[in-house]
């Protein structure tokens, strides 16, 4: 569902550009709005959320899609935790559909998906490993790396049980916006994948904005 935001970029309290292959980690307070902006289009933002007060509670793809009865995320979706509690609500979305089935790329899964000799290409889960290693203050460990959201990624499920990775439906300037329903930590990998169309084979920057 396409819903545009009334928030103006110039009024944002926080703005940060994240280059492709980089990561973002930040606490977002309850009531604040987080926007992820696809600056150049066709970029995947692999995103995890944690309860800032208890990082053992994290975004749960299974709880979220089960409770909304739908595999895609868009405006109106409530993002639930592994305790089935609401963490954020998507309040605006100019893209229309986001994936939470496909998970994040990893060097290990790249060997399976593409070729054994593609092991040492940069991957989202490596970005997360670096993020939690460089930011021990959040207390997030490898065990907490759960199944993520792929904002801007298009992974259609077919009625006969197929799953395909298609060229993104995002475009320059498209964004998704969500309001935090509890204090949360957002951990984002700006996807460096070069082997499939999730980034249009050309990973590009994203911007993260926060309004109070």
């Amino acid at each position: 569902m396409i819903i545009e935001s009334a928030l103006l970029q110039r009024n944002a309290d926080f703005r940060q550009t994240v280059e492709a292959g980089g990561y973002f980690i930040k606490t977002v307070r309850r009531g604040q709005t987080l926007r992820i902006l696809d600056l150049e289009g066709n970029q995947a933002a692999d995103t995890l959320f944690y309860n800032a007060g208890d990082i053992t509670e994290h975004y749960s793809a299974a709880d979220t899609i089960r409770e909304q009865g739908n595999v895609y995320l868009s405006a109106g979706s409530t993002l639930l935790s592994n305790l089935s509690r609401p963490m954020l609500e998507i309040t605006a979305d100019t893209c229309g559909r986001h994936d939470t089935l496909g998970g994040a790329c990893a060097t290990e899964s790249n060997t399976v998906r593409y070729a054994l000799d593609k092991r040492c290409m940069h991957a989202c889960r490596d970005s997360w490993m670096l993020a939690i290693a460089e930011h021990p203050e959040y207390g997030i460990q490898k065990r907490d790396i759960a199944h993520n959201i792929n904002f801007f990624m298009n992974v259609p499920v077919t009625s006969d049980g197929g799953l395909t990775f298609e060229d993104g439906i995002s475009a320059p300037g498209k964004y998704v916006e969500m309001q935090a329903l509890m204090d949360i930590i957002a951990l984002v990998s700006n996807c460096p994948q070069l082997n499939n169309p999730c980034n249009g084979y050309n990973p590009t920057p994203i911007e993260l904005l926060v309004w109070s």
Binding site: A62, R66, G69, S84, L101, G102, G103, A115, T158, L163
Partner: protein, 246 residues
């Protein structure tokens, strides 16, 4: 050719169990009375941080459903087990578990005090009980498999459970490709709309696998699975190297 059953146990309805399964063993799960749901999770007993990964399993094989030929992957690019036989053609791995409040809302809450082991146990608590035995907690629970359960998505992505998917006697066999900690429960599927709390036992028969050959159906089901088996081969080179040195 008969298969020697090494162990035969029927997991009662609304129950949970866990055990370490060695590489080279297979388990045939049978839905004795029809309408079963078997929740499954896998961990590497040598490294509990390595666990079943539903997204990797689905995307590596370009599938939403799981059936014969599919391999079930860890987050580290290894294959825990392969689906070598399947009467049903579809098992799901995206809906997670039912929890206590959902059970109470659907069917009322029969606690242990009044109902003893006929209580309305739920999949979330069942997994937690078993996982805690190995030092694992709620933060460690990935998306699980729901064997015997078919969930479809329409063009808009709306999910629906096929309530009549698994007939009495339907079976599915998993062949373990590495040592695996198996966590399981027989609690109802979270999307079940059954009038009564569903109670369905699952028979678990253990037998020695036929060795994997180069023309193995699962290994050749997709080119990705050939590479998954190659990753397992490397993993086993590491674990089988002679002790000592340095």
């Amino acid at each position: 050719m008969s298969t020697d059953i090494l162990y035969d146990y029927t997991l009662p309805p609304a129950s949970h169990w866990s055990l370490r399964v060695k590489r080279g063993l297979s388990i045939r799960f049978t839905d004795i009375g029809g309408g079963a749901n078997l929740g499954l999770l896998f961990f590497n007993p040598e490294n509990l941080l390595e666990r079943y990964n539903a997204p990797d399993t689905l995307k590596c094989q370009h599938t939403f459903k799981l059936t014969r030929g599919n391999c079930l992957y860890s987050d580290m690019g290894h294959i825990f087990c392969s689906i070598t036989e399947d009467d049903l053609g579809w098992h799901e791995t995206v809906c997670g578990n039912i929890n206590a409040s959902q059970v109470a809302a659907k069917w009322g809450n029969l606690g242990y005090q009044q109902s003893h082991n006929d209580w309305t146990q739920n999949g979330h608590d069942s997994f937690l009980v078993e996982m805690t035995k190995y030092g694992l907690g709620p933060r460690d629970m990935p998306a699980n498999l729901n064997i015997f359960s078919k969930v479809v998505a329409d063009e808009q992505g709306n999910l629906g459970l096929d309530e009549n998917h698994s007939p009495a006697g339907a079976s599915v066999t998993l062949r373990f490709e590495m040592d695996t900690l198996v966590i399981m429960h027989t609690c109802p599927h979270p999307l079940s709309q059954a009038a009564e709390y569903p109670r369905a036992p699952v028979r678990c028969e253990f037998f020695k696998s036929v060795p994997v050959s180069n023309d193995d159906y699962c290994m050749n089901f997709r080119p990705e699975n050939q590479r998954g088996f190659a990753n397992n081969r490397l993993y086993h080179l590491g674990s089988e190297a002679p002790a000592g040195g340095v």
